[in-house]
């Protein structure tokens, strides 16, 4: 973090203790004083302001763009169109998944809200005014909104910009063993099927996306202040788009007001701001408004899934099948490792011992914004987990079995770890039955079921009570370089640790906090390894000129990958310190041991040298052995040997008003196992946030589109986020199964609750109303219609 730490006015009487534990966050001192440094807080001398003109149509040919009136507005300094960018070879930019995306439309607009022109003006208000002076003539084309119609012969062709493209098909992809799965289904006692939609939702961080581009015409250096979860990846992409050399590009991500995957990609207006700076010679700031955020930046999900589950009549799950239609929008901008076009969806056997599984994913273009991998989805494990946890409840429904019992029956057993699932993922560790038992016990599951039975007998207007379960397994920490890269950049993370002569430390990382508390957690990791207080360790992230290369923060990868890097680099420093300490003690390094945060002669605590003393000595005139350099600084690149597999068991209790369909979440119990917890307070905060996401997606969040491709959730009046009133007081529990391959046994927690919680809420609501399946979001209208046996399709305009 680059922002200045403001010391608390009343100094803490004692230093923060060394190592792990629930210590207050280092970040908070500036935020509680309103002294954060978010991108819109930055004002540079001579800065200009950009605004984007967007398409009102979902699909239309651009006939003409007339900017003459805007150009003569007294405060306008530049107006940029697609044609102007085309002349510079910048009208299109690469996406994160090998497609191209229009920066400013030249030929057609392909979704409502697509970027058409960019105004640069002396102030924000004038830039907005000038938008209304631009005249665009459109020739409207039929919009393709329904992914299920994308491959129909009469479907409008969206990507006629690509040579040879004759339809809206993007890719077909499959995983698992089809023959074995078919065999299992053919002989199973029971097969349950269900059509399940995971609707298009949006991460909607409270801070929208934005950037300030500043090109220094003398040095040729481009500085971009940006809301970036992946500053180093952004630098490489800007080099590709602009042709500027990479060492002349500096990305500075200051404080970020939430990301959740929304701030992984680069967006057209960032490129426009760069062009604006090139044209005017001034810094150009652009920040999007909320509608722009919801309409044009990375959405999430939009998976139309057909699930099938095969089982014996007594509830042993034998096989799983999924057939998915993925709506990618107009461009393939999915942000995920290159070899995984559907992300990690094929980890869809989840937490159960399922011998055979096969999935097929077909993806298509529609006239909607690009994206798909965002909103804490763990590269589509959100979709996989939701599908499976719904299917297990559907099976329980069909078998007349208790869903907790059915899950317990099929969970992986502790002795099966490390476990390789039917689609090839190697789970590292876990004791699933213990975790589920703890969740059921905390919830008082049996008592809840008794209450439910009693209420059902009561009948009448009384609320219907529902109990929903979910047991999820995540795979995070992408990833091993041999398997995982984005745009050819391997997913290993660098780390640098510098020890000052007084023993104070600076840790430089490639990942990027968006609120996860990296400055605290990573300081604690180094603290634990070196025996110095977290107060004495500064964590630097976000500035590409100051930090080593790495791919950023998303997919819950920071603790798993950069956390590993922090451990390794700290241990390198500790090893160097051993040599210096040996010289100080006139002993051999092998004669020393690390005990209670000090190097000491084995068995002689009085000889102990703390890191601070050793650091001073390492910078002094102390004679060191031949070949040993001074100082203690170290660097590393951590290439994780495998992913880590956090998991959890969730129980949700709801009350449904049978007369109105309104849902009240009464309780939510979450037992998470994310391995070793470095700062349990921060871990619990991460879980709380994800649980609220689950309530939001299950009950209210949705981006639907009408037949013309109009976005029906384009502001916070229509894209509803849960408030303090919809969220219950979360009840958390934990088990700890350390990862055997992570240097400190940590697994990552950022996305677990977002992945695991929606199914628990949906299962609870459907349990309450006795309906086999209905799609999210379960708004009062959808619940009521489901109770009538006439469930609605949720992703289209209601009639």
């Amino acid at each position: 973090m680059t922002a200045t730490q403001i010391p608390a006015r009343v100094p803490t009487p004692t230093p923060t203790p060394v190592g792990y534990g629930s210590i207050p966050r280092k970040e908070d001192a500036r935020f509680v004083r309103g002294r954060g440094s978010f991108v819109d807080d930055v004002q540079l001398p001579g800065m200009l302001y950009g605004a984007v003109l967007r398409s009102p149509y979902a699909h239309a040919r651009i006939v003409s763009v007339d900017i003459s009136a805007a150009e003569v507005h007294p405060k306008v300094r530049a107006v940029i169109t697609g044609d102007m960018l085309d002349k510079r070879g910048m009208a299109w930019m690469p996406t994160l998944f090998g497609d191209v995306q229009a920066v400013l439309a030249t030929d057609k607009v392909r979704f409502q809200g697509q970027e058409v022109a960019f105004v640069v003006a002396e102030d924000h208000y004038a830039a907005r005014d000038a938008l209304s002076l631009i005249e665009v003539e459109y020739e409207p084309l039929p919009a393709l909104v329904d992914a299920k119609l994308a491959l129909a012969p009469d479907a409008p062709l969206i990507r006629d910009d690509l040579d040879g493209r004759t339809d809206n098909h993007v890719f077909d992809w499959s995983a698992g063993n089809k023959a074995a799965t078919d065999d299992a289904f053919a002989t199973a006692d029971v097969v349950a099927e269900c059509e399940i939609l995971y609707p298009r939702v949006h991460p909607a961080p409270m801070e929208t996306c934005g950037a300030i581009a500043s090109l220094d015409r003398v040095s040729g250096k481009l500085t971009v202040y940006a809301t970036s979860q992946a500053p180093h990846a952004h630098r490489t992409m800007y080099a590709q788009v602009t042709g500027l050399p990479e060492h002349k590009i500096q990305i500075i991500a200051g404080d970020i007001g939430g990301g959740f995957g929304n701030k992984v990609a680069i967006y057209p207006a960032y490129v426009c701001a760069i062009v604006g700076s090139i044209l005017t010679g001034c810094p150009v700031k652009w920040t999007e408004d909320r509608s722009e955020n919801l309409m044009s930046t990375a959405f999430a999900r939009d998976f139309h899934m057909h699930g099938e589950i095969a089982a014996t009549s007594d509830g042993k799950i034998l096989a799983l099948r999924a057939n998915v239609l993925a709506d990618l929008g107009a461009f393939n901008g999915t942000a995920q490792p290159t070899k995984f076009p559907a992300g990690f969806f094929h980890m869809f056997t989840g937490s159960y011992d399922i011998a055979a599984a096969h999935c097929e994913v077909r993806s298509v273009h529609t006239n909607k914004a690009p994206g798909g991998v965002a909103y804490s989805c763990s590269f589509r494990i959100a979709e996989a987990s939701y599908l499976l946890e719904r299917m297990v409840d559907v099976l329980a429904h069909d078998l007349g079995m208790d869903p907790a019992q059915l899950r317990m029956r099929n969970l992986l057993r502790p002795e099966q770890f490390p476990y390789t699932c039917a689609t090839g993922w190697e789970y590292d560790s876990g004791d699933y039955p213990t975790t589920l038992r703890l969740a059921l016990e905390m919830a008082g599951y049996d008592e809840l079921r008794r209450e439910q039975a009693a209420r059902r007998e009561g009948g009448g207007d009384a609320p219907l009570m529902g109990i929903g379960l979910s047991f999820f397994t995540e795979a995070v920490g992408a990833g091993p370089r041999k398997m995982m890269d984005i745009l050819g950049l391997g997913m290993a993370d660098g780390a640098e640790l510098r020890l000052h002569p007084t023993g104070k430390a600076v840790l430089r990382l490639s990942c990027m906090s968006q609120g996860q508390g990296h400055a605290t957690t990573f300081a604690q990791i180094v603290s634990q390894e070196l025996g110095i207080s977290p107060d004495d360790i500064e964590v630097v992230e976000g500035d590409t000129d100051q930090t080593p290369f790495g791919l950023g923060t998303y997919g819950s990868r920071s603790t798993a990958v950069s956390g590993g890097a922090a451990v390794v680099v700290a241990r390198k420093v500790r090893d160097r310190a051993r040599i210096v300490a040996a010289a100080m003690l006139e002993a051999l390094p092998d004669d020393l041991e690390w005990a209670e945060g000090r190097w000491q002669v084995k068995g002689v605590p009085s000889t102990g040298k703390a890191i601070a003393e050793i650091a001073t000595a390492a910078h002094s005139g102390l004679e060191l052995p031949e070949g040993v350099e001074g100082h203690l600084d170290a660097t590393t690149v951590y290439n994780p040997p495998n992913l880590t597999y956090p998991y959890g068991a969730y129980v949700c209790v709801v009350d449904v008003d049978p007369g109105t369909g309104q849902v009240k979440v009464r309780r939510f119990v979450a037992v998470d196992d994310c391995g070793v917890r470095i700062n349990p307070m921060i871990v619990e905060g991460q879980i709380h946030g994800g649980l609220a996401d689950g309530v939001g997606m299950a009950l209210m969040e949705l981006m639907a589109f009408d037949a013309n491709g109009n976005h029906l959730g384009a502001s916070f009046m229509d894209y509803l986020l849960p408030t303090s009133m919809e969220c219950p007081s979360w009840e958390l529990g934990q088990t700890v199964s350390p990862s055997p391959h992570h240097p400190i046994g940590a697994k990552g927690i950022g996305e677990s609750a977002t992945v695991g919680s929606p199914a628990a809420v949906v299962n609870a609501v459907l349990d309450a109303i006795g309906v086999r399946h209905a799609d999210m979001p379960l708004t009062p209208a959808h619940v009521w219609r489901a109770m009538q046996g006439r469930a609605l399709r949720t992703d289209v305009a209601l009639e």
């Binding site: 608390a8 006015r9 009343v10 207050p24 966050r25 970040e27 908070d28 001192a29 500036r30 935020f31 509680v32 004083r33 309103g34 002294r35 954060g36 978010f38 819109d40 807080d41 004002q43 924000h124 208000y125 991460p203 909607a204 961080p205 409270m206 801070e207 929208t208 404080d255 970020i256 007001g257 939430g258 959740f260 408004d289 909320r290 509608s291 968006q514 609120g515 996860q516 508390g517 307070m681 921060i682 619990e684 905060g685 991460q686 709380h688 946030g689 994800g690 649980l691 609220a692 996401d693 502001s715 916070f716 009046m717 986020l721 408030t723 303090s724 009133m725 969220c727 007081s729 979360w730």
Partner: protein, 155 residues
């Protein structure tokens, strides 16, 4: 037009367009960037400040409407003898993660405690129900406000 406004006890005079929103006056003209904005429709509440002592959404108040009135922002919370108990409560109970909604949440919390020194969980949840947080699931915000109430009662 010329406005005069008192922000955190300091008097300011500025010549502004009538359409200038209060949030932009604070952030862009007075450089008090602790007050944020997050939507355009007064739904998210990250822009909440106290206007004549009452929480308002500063994205939906014109700067000219605040002329002659008192505004208090997050920058005005800290006192000469240290952090406001609300600030300390948010630190102690991990009431913030990304820090973007925090200013607005704390201003509403300050108002709540001034009117109700011992609020229940329900009262806290209602008070902040027009303000969205994407990080905390609200649990620790509620605990933070309770903590602030305890700190205040103890002092």
């Amino acid at each position: 037009m010329e406005i005069s406004i008192t922000v955190n006890g300091e008097d300011y005079r500025r010549d502004v367009e009538p359409r200038l929103l209060l949030v932009h006056l604070l952030r862009d003209k007075l450089r008090l960037t602790g007050t944020h904005w997050g939507c355009d429709t007064s739904n998210c509440g990250v822009c909440v400040v106290l206007l004549d002592g009452v929480p308002v959404k500063s994205c939906t108040v014109l700067a000219v409407m605040a002329s002659g009135r008192q505004v208090r922002t997050v920058e005005g919370l800290e006192r000469s003898d240290g952090l406001d108990p609300v600030q300390q409560g948010f630190i102690d109970r991990h009431g913030l993660q990304c820090g973007f909604c925090t200013s607005g949440m704390m201003m509403t919390a300050r108002w709540l405690l001034d009117h109700n020194p011992d609020p229940s969980e329900r009262e806290i949840r209602e008070a902040i129900s027009g303000q969205v947080c994407r990080c905390t699931g609200y649990e620790n915000i509620v605990r933070s406000v309770r903590r602030a109430a305890e700190l205040e009662a103890g002092s």
